[in-house]
Assembly symmetry: C2
């Protein structure tokens, strides 16, 4: 059904689920090199931010800013990177990445730089728990 939200299979495969905000599914990119949160508005068939209806478009921005604040408070880092690209995965999703001057892709973008290094299980649970507590409480 075209109006049922289903998470893109590639996003599902590359990430660990943290939970849901009022609009967006919150995902942790399974790459231990960068604290990296992806928001996916739970709306079907949307590729561009400007194609979300108006209350949703603004809500996505509010949730994006919330993720940025939580990422900086939780991980520090040297710079936040926000990106809505979608050249590979068509489903609208917004990346939020904590960058440090020591990370492998610095100062270039993380997208397309190199293969992810998946989290160890305990490490993933710790990061998911910290982000979930800060974002979903």
């Amino acid at each position: 059904m075209s109006n049922e939200f289903l998470l893109d299979e590639r996003l599902a495969a590359d990430t660990l689920e943290i939970g849901d905000l009022s609009l967006s599914r919150v995902l942790l990119m399974n790459d231990r090199r960068y604290p990296w949160v992806i928001l996916v508005p739970r709306r079907a068939g949307i590729r561009e931010w400007i194609d979300l209806p108006d209350p949703d478009a603004q809500q996505l921005w509010l949730e994006s800013m919330q993720v940025c604040r939580v990422l900086r408070d939780t991980f520090g880092g040297d710079k936040l990177n926000i990106g809505a690209l979608g050249n590979v995965v068509e489903q609208l999703h917004v990346h939020h990445v904590v960058r440090t001057r020591q990370d492998p892709a610095w100062p270039g973008p993380v997208w397309g730089h190199s293969a992810a290094e998946p989290y160890a299980r305990a490490e993933a649970e710790s990061v998911r728990h910290r982000l979930g507590a800060a974002l979903l409480s």
Copy 2:
């Protein structure tokens, strides 16, 4: 003076000025391969979107959405890319890039991909005029 807005020198060198929206300086990246607009909030000393005071933070989002609509209406393309990175240029700025499946960086990000191809003079004037008319009227 710390509270006077001055455009970062590297942004100034890499772009052509289109004009000012209520918050942001509007710049055209001088790269004829991609319709590429950068918004720079005219506020001093800000690196992160979340460090803008609240009315400005939302205004930047509104202006970003406006740029996206104008870029799609003006140039079409296959996908809009929005990015706030700032790993190289610290002054807060937001990229908006019209991507096509035939562009040199597709499907990767444009940032850091390859050297810009500057516009010819008449071509630059035409693009600036079209964008200025749509954005600043």
